[in-house]
Structure formats: structure tokens, C-alpha cells
């Protein structure tokens, strides 16, 4: 029984990070209906940038964060500006394919700059650990969960109530309509990619604390996809729930069937959900008037 408790806690921990990254994925999908397959590699690059500030430049936690998050935002904007903007007006399949190729380029960049071996381990939130009942909790995990949850709340509020959030939902409906009302579609795109960049960076840092800074982090990005899909690709709340669910499934399955089984299991769930409830739990039935 005690083993199950530990797994559930670990699952929720990871789940919150998956949820956060999934929000980034949903944000991009909502504003430009692009399935961003490079989300995992943005997470990787974000984590490495943070590692660069923390480990190479020896800055401590707060300054590294203050430098890493804006650079994550810039990374998102740069990606949108260089690869996606020229494709506006092209068929959707080209936009999605470009994100696939982006994952190649990002992986290449990371291995070009930092090599392919895992980076030296660093502590992010400090050593310490405590126990709740019989379960050992390290400060790293608890802080990671806290940061993830905070970021999620901020994003939801932004998305629901600000004018910019409304504009983003408008852009998702139709680029031309919104443009004819004076809303800079390009600006909205770059902002949503910027936020996705920040979400990925935070996710990367948090994942880095537990799994270490290595190329494997990009597989976490893969998990954001089932998380976002199960949540319905439409709403940030859906993404969070999806993330937590995926986290649980991954840790439970890998707990009992050996740790390589975690990721495939989530995709099995993805396919099952796609069969039963294609629009996810929170998705909107798409209005298709011919």
C-alpha cells in the first residue's frame, strides 16, 4: 500500500509539470490550430538555457530564473517569427510539418552546443526532504509542484479574463475576420508562442530538477500531447486535468510494469480517448456549417 502512495504522489508531481507544458501546447493550438510537435524540444532547450545560467555562470536560483524565463519567451517568439510566420496562408499541414522539422533543428542545436551527454547534475530548490506519513518528499519535488500549480493558475486567469486572451480565442476562429477588426494576428501568434516558450522552460527546469538535464527531457514534451488531447485541446483547465491524469497513469504503469512502459501507456490511453470521446473532456463540439 505504501508503495502505491509513493507512486500516486510522484504521478501528481510529474502530472502538474505535464499539465503546465500541455497548456503551452493548447495555447498554440487554440490561436493557430497548429499541433506543436516541437514542444518537447522547446522544453529541452529552455532547461539547458536555465542550466547554462545556473551552472556555467554560477548564478543562484532567482537571477537564473529571471534570465531563463524571458529567454524562453524570446525562444517562442523567435520560432514563430522565423518558421511559422512565412507559412501564414499555407495549408495547415505545412504548419504542423514545420513544427516536426523544428524538433530536429532544436535537438541538433542542443547537441551542437552542449553535446549529447547528460549535463552535470545541479540542485535547483535546495537539498532537504521531509516526510508525510510514510512518504518521503524532497524539497525539489514540493517546490516543483508549487511552481507548476502557480503558473497554471496565472495562465488560466490571463486566458479567461484579459482582452488579449479574448483576442487569442478570436484568432483561433478566423484570421481574416479578426484582422479586419484591427487585431494584429501576427502579434497574437508571437505572444501565444512566447507564452508556450515560457511554459516549456518552466517545465524543463522542473523536470531537470528530478530527471537531470539530459536529452531525454524531450520525451516529456511528447507526454504533453496526450495530456493536452485528453483535456480537449480547447481549454487550459482541460490541459491541467489531462496532465495530472497522464502523470498518474505514467507512474502507476511504470511502477508495476517496468519504467519503460510509462510513455507508451499514455499513448494507448490517448488512442482509447480518441475512440470514445474525440473532443476530450472539455473540448467544444466543432460547429461545422457548410
Amino acid at each position: 500500500m505504501e508503495f502505491l502512495g509513493k507512486i500516486v504522489i510522484a504521478g501528481l508531481m510529474n502530472g502538474s509539470i505535464y499539465g503546465l507544458v500541455a497548456i503551452g501546447f493548447v495555447l498554440v493550438y487554440k490561436s493557430s490550430s497548429v499541433l506543436n510537435f516541437s514542444q518537447g524540444y522547446m522544453l529541452l532547450l529552455g532547461a539547458y538555457i536555465f542550466w547554462f545560467f545556473k551552472a556555467s555562470l554560477k548564478l543562484d536560483l532567482l537571477p537564473s530564473l529571471l534570465l531563463a524565463l524571458p529567454s524562453g519567451f524570446l525562444m517562442g517568439i523567435a520560432i514563430e517569427r522565423i518558421t511559422l510566420r512565412p507559412l501564414i496562408g499555407q495549408p495547415l499541414i505545412s504548419m504542423i510539418t514545420v513544427t516536426i522539422f523544428l524538433s530536429l533543428v532544436l535537438e541538433g542545436l542542443v547537441s551542437l552546443i552542449w553535446g549529447t551527454y547528460p549535463l552535470e547534475q545541479i540542485t535547483v530548490f535546495g537539498r532537504g526532504s521531509g516526510t508525510v506519513g510514510s512518504i518521503v518528499l524532497t524539497t525539489e519535488n514540493v517546490c516543483a509542484f508549487g511552481v507548476a500549480f502557480g503558473a497554471m493558475v496565472v495562465l488560466i486567469l490571463f486566458f479567461r479574463y484579459t482582452n488579449l486572451g479574448l483576442a487569442m480565442r478570436g484568432v483561433a476562429e478566423g484570421h481574416q475576420i479578426v484582422q479586419s477588426m484591427g487585431i494584429g494576428v501576427r502579434r497574437i501568434f508571437s505572444i501565444s508562442w512566447g507564452i508556450a516558450g515560457v511554459a516549456a522552460t518552466i517545465g524543463g527546469i522542473l523536470m531537470g530538477t528530478t530527471l537531470g538535464f539530459q536529452l531525454g527531457l524531450s520525451h516529456i514534451g511528447l507526454l504533453a500531447i496526450p495530456a493536452a488531447f485528453i483535456g480537449g485541446l480547447e481549454s487550459p483547465e482541460g490541459a491541467i486535468l489531462g496532465g495530472l491524469l497522464i502523470g498518474l497513469i505514467e507512474s502507476v504503469v511504470s511502477g508495476y510494469l517496468g519504467n519503460a512502459a510509462g510513455v507508451p501507456a499514455t499513448f494507448v490511453v490517448l488512442i482509447l480517448v480518441m475512440l470514445i470521446r474525440p473532443y476530450g473532456f472539455f473540448g467544444l463540439e466543432r460547429i461545422e456549417r457548410v
Partner: protein, 356 residues
């Protein structure tokens, strides 16, 4: 997407529908096609060209063309995205390998079943996503890539470690050397390419294009989108399966390493660079990217040697950046790929001295 209007020389007219849709319309085209074939057949015999390195490269290109042909039928003609193609190559490879290794079936007995099994597995993964509008097939094929690799790694005894496979043989003649296997690869590639080209002249082909261009209109015309997307995906995975079987019987060794997610992405790169929806485009794309890859394999180590400060593994990083970069360049500046560029050159020549 790479269709072009055809400018025949004057004096060429069709007095029957069959004549109108022939693939080879003029005598010069026939001569060109036949001479190209003869050249390909003669390659191993020409001293300069028949170095083992080049033959192995050509065989690799041949098998990759088959994989990309399937992918182009699905993505280019039917508009569905598949980023798990190499998993289905693996399915074909292991099916054929196991049939041969465990049941002693010859290559000729295994290749079609390999394709069939790959197609069956493909359909299983295809059904959930094909029901939906939008590019959800990309998600399920990504899932397929991960799940199938996991299954092969842990749940089939032989595949995780790799196992030996008999080479292709006819009677007592073994196609075990590159010079000999070259002909097997050539025959299969030619047959599969011609089949793909022909497919576009059939009802299925037209239905695929209808689904790609406007699935709502296609549905209104009575085309069962679900069925045709599934057929397209089945053909795509069948092509992958056959290629997998060829690969395994050529390498005489079946192992997991050559079927990764990156390989799937590379196949997508090849059809984008080559030209979506064009058979010639697929061939151009495969040759172009393979040549680029070989080039980088030469430059990579040199670079690592000279620029010492680069970390270990920079060579592979460089490869990814360049190939990814080239793919993105094509997507943005030449969306219709090399095939379109080739058609423009042909049109320029055909329209000479007029401009339009």
C-alpha cells in the same frame, strides 16, 4: 499538389480516352524512359560506378524510395500526416524476419505477408484518428511509433536483441552481395513506383485527391472519407512493410536501431523536399536528402576534428540542424518541392520561346 498542365508538342493528339491518359505520350518520352531504365540496369556492370559503397547507397535509396512512396500517397495525395512510418517498416521487417528465421519461409514467401501485417497494424492505429476531421492521424502514428518500439523491445524475444535472416535466393542463386541485391532492389522500386503512379489514375487515386482538397465537398459527393483515408493509410503501411522486408533480407540481420522516431521524421522531410503528391518528387527528395546526409557524414567528423571546442556528439547535432533547416527552407520557400522546380524547368523548355 505537384500536378502541372501538360504542353505536348504540336501534332500529338488523342483519338481515344486510353491514349489520352497514357503515362508515356510521345516517342521521345518512351526513348527517355527506356534509356533511363537501361542505364540503371547497367550500373553494377560499369567499372566506375560499381564500387560497393555506391551500390550500397543506391540500394538504400531504392528501399527508402519505396517507404517514401507509401508516405507520399498518404500525405501528398490524401493529405494525412504520418510521423510513425519507420515503426511500420519495423513491423514489416520483423514479420518477414521472423517468418524466415523461425519458419524458414523464403524471402518471396515473406515479402507480401510482411506488407499485409504492416498494413493490418496500420489500420488498427488508423481507425481511431481517421474518423476525425483534422490531422489527428499524426498523433496516433506518433503513438504507434512509441508503442510498437516498446512492444518490439520488451515483448518479442528475438527482436530486442536482433537475429539473423537468410538472404534472398532464387533456386540456388543467393542475392547476398550488393551487386546482386541491387537488381532485387531495382525491380521492387520500379514496380512499386509504377504502381503508385498508376494508382493516381484509378478511382482510389481520384478519391484520395478529393479527400485532400476538400473533405466536406468529397463527402457531399458520396465519397466515404473514412474508408478512403483508411485505404490510403493501409497502402502507405503496406509499402513500409514491403520495404522493411527488403531491408532485413538485404542486411541479413534484423535489429531495432534502424527504426527510430527520427527516421520517421526524415521520411517526412524527404517527401516535403521532394514534392508532395508527385512520384518523381518522392524520388528527387530521397536522393537529395541521402546525398546531403552522406556529405555531412564526411564533413561532420572533419569539423569535430578542427573545431576542438565543440562537445562530443556535435557531428550528429550538425546533421540534424542542417537537415531540419533544409526541410524548413523548402517548406517556406519551395512548398511544392523539387518536383515543382523540375516541372518549371520542363515547362520552360517546352514553352520555348514563349513565356506562357
Amino acid at each position: 499538389m505537384a500536378h502541372t498542365t501538360y504542353y505536348p508538342p504540336s501534332g500529338i493528339y488523342a483519338d481515344s480516352f486510353k491514349k489520352d491518359i497514357r503515362i508515356v505520350k510521345t516517342r521521345t518520352q518512351l526513348i527517355l524512359a527506356v534509356s533511363a531504365m537501361l542505364l540503371l540496369v547497367a550500373v553494377p556492370l560499369i567499372p566506375g560506378l560499381n564500387s560497393p559503397y555506391l551500390l550500397r547507397l543506391l540500394i538504400g535509396i531504392g528501399i527508402t524510395i519505396i517507404i517514401c512512396l507509401g508516405l507520399n500517397i498518404l500525405t501528398g495525395y490524401c493529405g494525412q500526416l504520418n510521423i510513425g512510418q519507420s515503426a511500420f517498416v519495423m513491423v514489416g521487417a520483423f514479420t518477414s524476419g521472423l517468418l524466415n528465421h523461425s519458419f524458414g519461409w523464403s524471402f518471396w514467401a515473406c515479402v507480401i505477408p510482411a506488407g499485409m501485417v504492416a498494413a493490418a497494424v496500420g489500420v488498427v492505429f488508423g481507425i481511431p484518428s481517421v474518423r476525425l476531421k483534422g490531422l489527428y492521424l499524426a498523433l496516433t502514428t506518433l503513438g504507434a511509433q512509441i508503442i510498437l518500439t516498446w512492444v518490439a523491445l520488451f515483448h518479442i524475444p528475438l527482436t530486442s536483441a536482433g537475429f539473423t535472416v537468410e538472404p534472398v535466393k532464387i533456386g540456388s542463386f543467393y542475392f547476398d552481395t550488393p551487386e546482386r541485391f541491387y537488381y532485387i532492389a531495382l525491380v521492387f522500386t520500379a514496380v512499386m513506383a509504377f504502381a503508385a503512379k498508376n494508382l493516381m489514375r484509378t478511382r482510389w487515386g481520384r478519391a484520395f485527391i478529393a479527400v485532400r482538397d476538400n473533405d466536406r465537398a468529397a463527402e457531399a459527393m458520396g465519397i466515404d472519407i473514412f474508408r478512403y483515408k483508411l485505404i490510403a493509410f493501409a497502402i502507405c503501411t503496406f509499402y513500409a512493410g514491403v520495404a522493411g522486408s527488403l531491408l532485413v533480407h538485404y542486411m541479413m540481420w534484423a535489429q531495432l536501431e534502424s527504426f527510430t522516431l527520427n527516421d520517421s521524421i526524415w521520411y517526412v522531410v524527404m517527401i516535403i523536399v521532394g514534392g508532395l503528391g508527385s512520384i518523381e518528387g518522392t524520388i528527387f527528395g530521397v536522393i537529395f536528402i541521402t546525398a546531403l546526409k552522406e556529405l555531412i557524414f564526411v564533413i561532420g567528423p572533419m569539423l569535430e576534428g578542427t573545431l576542438a571546442f565543440l562537445p562530443i556528439g556535435a557531428g550528429s547535432g550538425l546533421l540534424l540542424v542542417i537537415i531540419g533547416g533544409v526541410a524548413i527552407f523548402f517548406l517556406i520557400f519551395e512548398p511544392r518541392g523539387l518536383a515543382h522546380r523540375w516541372n518549371l524547368i520542363k515547362a520552360y523548355y517546352r514553352l520555348w520561346p514563349f513565356g506562357y
